[in-house]
Symmetry: C2
Subunit: 310 residues, 2 copies
């Protein structure tokens, strides 16, 4: 038995004595399975919890997002650059020939990957030996770690049918320094660069954030707008007292607002505050509240303090 096989076997042994209850959806790492772990079969993958379906390439649902995908075979336009993958969704193929015979739609598992994109959920990626890529294992399956869905689109393939496509990017495996984000600076003005560069705006999304957004039905608590994207509604969770040094705000519902991106930028950049009576300071109007979402006035006070308003 090769080394990786032994590791899986140890895991499976440990698992058999663990509680058998599992969440309806289960994102992220499956401790103690590490990136690079090999699996002999779809059955082993299934039992491990890495990919909880025996045939489907995508595990997940439209409402909760995608847990995991298995890359196997693939669409003619797919690209696999290792930490960056262009992936085509499910559906519309003739089971006999594998050829595309109908449009793919953003429903079911395809919609699950859209939800992962809009909500920033991590997706476990597994490569199979039949996957057409230099990164595929020679035999069986290999767990490749967590990716995020950077974007999705819906384009017509060479055969004339619409396909759902996804751009996946590997997430860093080291999660010990969550507030230090690696990025690339913008290009200096007037100085040529080989490649376009990027900067990042960080939008935090956690279980708490998702709950707040759902409670407000993705409507902005300032202006009431709900952004209707092709893949579903979009809102952002704004931490009132920021996470991380030096503010150390909690990731708790009482410290989170559901905002549209515009009001998120304005709030984070001090354009307005919110008083103890929920009336805005520096803006007309009052915060939209929900009886199930109690905002802590101490955090509102801290944000006003950050901007010299108290």
């Amino acid at each position: 038995m090769p080394a990786v096989g032994r590791r899986v076997q140890r895991f499976l042994n440990a698992q058999s004595s663990a509680p058998q209850t599992r969440a309806a959806h289960d994102y992220g790492e499956i401790t103690p399975i590490v990136v690079g772990t090999a699996f002999a079969s779809r059955r082993e993958l299934y039992t491990s919890g890495i990919h909880r379906a025996l045939q489907a390439g995508i595990v997940g649902s439209a409402s909760t997002g995608a847990e995991s995908i298995v890359l196997s075979g693939g669409y003619v336009d797919d690209q696999d650059l290792g930490s960056e993958i262009i992936y085509t969704g499910h559906g519309g193929r003739d089971p006999a020939t594998g050829r595309q015979i109908a449009d793919q739609t953003f429903t079911r598992q395809n919609q699950a990957l859209v939800t992962s994109c809009l909500q920033g959920l991590p997706v476990r990626v597994v490569r199979g030996s039949e996957h057409n890529s230099p990164y595929s294992p020679d035999v069986g399956y290999r767990y490749e770690g967590l990716y995020r869905v950077e974007s999705y689109w819906h384009a017509r393939g060479a055969d004339g049918f619409l396909v759902c496509r996804f751009h996946l990017l590997a997430l860093a495996n080291d999660q010990s320094q969550p507030s230090i984000i690696s990025g690339v600076p913008s290009a200096p003005p007037g100085q040529a660069r080989r490649v376009p560069s990027t900067v990042l705006r960080i939008v935090r999304d956690t279980a708490v954030s998702r709950r707040v957004k759902e409670l407000h039905a993705f409507q902005c608590q300032v202006c009431g707008i709900r952004l209707e994207c092709k893949g579903g509604p979009y809102a952002e969770a704004a931490h009132i007292r920021p996470l991380g040094a030096p503010h150390h705000g909690p990731d708790a519902m009482e410290n989170v607002l559901c905002l549209c991106p515009n009001h998120h930028v304005l709030f984070d950049n001090g354009a307005f505050g919110i008083g103890d009576d929920f009336a805005f300071v520096g803006l007309n109007g009052r915060l939209r509240t929900s009886p199930d979402h109690i905002v802590n006035r101490d955090h509102l006070n801290y944000q006003r303090y950050m901007w010299g308003r108290s």
Copy 2:
């Protein structure tokens, strides 16, 4: 002469035969000075181009952003965690005692760091030996690489005066893979984590993007809104045909729109397209244009194709 001193000396020798014209503002790396390079004095730093002022802690202007900062001494509440720095701005101190005797304002060099934050510009960071941090060099100054300004705020210090504060995060030094962004996945629902985690939304900002935003005076080309933040106006540059694989859109003005964050999210997620006559598809209205900003219809057509609209 120690090894690092020699390296600087070689650089200075090379520099003396180089053209003496320098840009009015000069962001990013100064080739060939590498991270960790030591300098004996502010004069050496100045001559190298790393920090182009002999006394000021911040080099830059309100309109163009900050090029570089030197950490030296520091405010009582400052924190230096290495790749993460809490930094206090300039002004309001008694030159004799160094004590805060007046409010700091977001003007001049302080505003320069705000501009860097809002426009996503990289800032060169230098630590001096007098800087109160375990990361400071024993003598002289050390170039620490590029940071971005993650956030800024304006809070009352222990002495009762308002100070301008900045949260700086180190940028990755390896710029060879700009489209692969390291991030941290969001926390799995119901699973406790030691720390809150984050996901990223990438907003690209380049010299081209900044030019487009300036041409439109930071007004959204869809709705006309201009977000007025405490530190100045905010808009986002949206690439029509996305950068990077598999779309390979160019970072050129003809492929960039100036949008508010809301319409950026809606455009990137297929909620609307833009026709050859600049009328929106999937939304009422027509794109606001400028005679100095010609949008390429091929890229508009590509975006429609991405969303099955052509």
